[in-house]
């Protein structure tokens, strides 16, 4: 699945080796925290739930194959503090997502920044290399 990354917009946003501070239940053991990846996709589902909200979205690779991603942010109260809502995303929405991704190559990530409808929302943790984690 890692090969899918070659066909999406790939952005190495930083090489910060410092672990990203955690903001909720589950740790960062599954993630490569040294770099961020930016992709453009289409929302298929938005789960507003504990312990973490989940966004499912499809990304087309350069061969026209669809890669189905799942990426998390923090819990609803924390995300509400950052301006997120249960109704802000719906299937079919075009999104640009900057995230850290799983070390094992699965299309699984943690969203650090999301752009939808021309609006930018800060996600969970920080984009590696851009400074301290948000609370």
């Amino acid at each position: 699945m890692r090969s899918g990354l070659g066909i999406i917009t790939l952005l190495i946003a930083g090489l910060a080796a410092v672990p990203i501070a955690l903001l909720a239940h589950h740790g960062s053991a599954i993630y490569d925290q040294t770099k961020a990846v930016t992709v453009q996709g289409v929302v298929t589902d938005w789960l507003w739930a504990n312990p973490h909200c989940l966004l499912d979205f499809d990304v087309k690779d350069d061969k026209g194959n669809t890669v189905h991603w799942t990426a998390e942010v923090s819990n609803p109260p924390d995300m509400m503090n950052r301006g997120w809502t249960k109704r802000m995303l719906k299937p079919g929405d075009a999104v640009t997502i900057t995230m850290i991704v799983a070390k094992n190559g699965e299309p699984v990530g943690r969203i650090a920044r999301l752009v939808v409808g021309g609006k930018t929302f800060e996600g969970m943790g920080r984009v590696p290399g851009e400074g301290d984690a948000k609370q």
Partner: protein
């Protein structure tokens, strides 16, 4: 007005009634120094003095992350630093090894962890103070001080009626708590009888049924409350240690609404199926 005998004009009676009603509604709030909306704090001015023997109000950690404590007890995080190593007994060290946390220096992938709170078991006390402590409402009666926590919408009762802690209690998730005022602004709480299935914090620090916890709430001024905590468990730790050192809370407006933050087994299962299991799978 030209009132004729035997007839009553309702206009002045109505006006007086309205004034009296408004006074009845407004004056008690004024007497308490409250308004309907958030209290106004003059920019640059210091908060007023703390009221005597009063913790009531809605309090939130001054810095959110200080309350979440993702790597364990705020004053003693599991960050690998020598000064944060806990004084385990041999038994305590063996117990620690059985706890697989997804946080801290020995973190494991979500699929490999065994954090009881991550299957929606109650996180219990003192973990309620040592992980995800968020806006908390404190209520006081002449017999009890009651804490209403945001996380999982649980509450604790701290008895202030002079009773002693139970001598040989049946363990329970949140134990048994009693409190006394040390002075007009310092409230000390003792807790025992906690359930050893719970973890002390997010890093998986263990405890036994011998655990005793001391919390000290110190109201610095009207808007500021500090919480310190000492862990004493001779079966697991060779000496008492400080888990919280003046964790600072700020008073929220009286109309502040606590968020809903619940552990739902079905939502957790969905998270694990869709995300954690995939991210934890063996590398391809």
């Amino acid at each position: 007005m030209n009132l004729r005998p035997g007839r009553i004009s309702f206009a002045p009676v109505f006006a007086i009634s309205i004034v009296a009603l408004m006074a009845a509604l407004v004056l008690p709030a004024v007497a308490r120094g409250q308004t309907a909306g958030p209290p106004k704090k003059d920019a640059g001015k210091k908060a007023g003095p703390a009221p005597r023997r009063d913790l009531s109000g809605i309090w939130a950690p001054a810095k959110t992350l200080d309350g979440i404590q993702p790597s364990g007890a705020g004053a003693m995080p599991a960050d690998g630093k020598p000064e944060h190593e806990l004084p385990y007994t041999p038994y305590g060290l063996e117990l620690l090894k059985t706890h697989k946390s997804s946080n801290g220096p020995n973190e494991v992938a979500p699929a490999e962890e065994n954090d009881p709170a991550h299957i929606c078991d109650p996180q219990g006390f003192p973990r309620e103070d040592l992980f995800e402590v968020r806006a908390t409402q404190i209520l006081q009666t002449h017999l009890q001080t009651i804490l209403l926590y945001t996380y999982n919408k649980v509450w604790r009762t701290i008895w202030t009626d002079g009773r002693e802690l139970p001598k040989d209690p049946d363990p329970r998730w949140f134990g048994y708590s009693t409190g006394k005022w040390r002075d007009d602004y310092t409230f000390a709480v003792e807790t025992n009888g906690t359930d050893e299935r719970t973890w002390l914090d997010n890093a998986g620090r263990p405890h036994s049924e011998q655990l005793r916890v001391e919390e000290v709430f110190h109201r610095v001024d009207r808007d500021t409350l500090e919480l310190s905590m000492t862990i004493d468990d001779p079966k697991v730790y060779t000496r008492p240690w400080t888990a919280l050192d003046k964790l600072r809370f700020q008073l929220k407006p009286p109309n502040f609404e606590l968020a809903e933050m619940m552990c739902s087994p079905s939502e957790l299962a969905e998270y694990n199926r869709r995300h954690a299991a995939r991210g934890s799978a063996t590398k391809k």
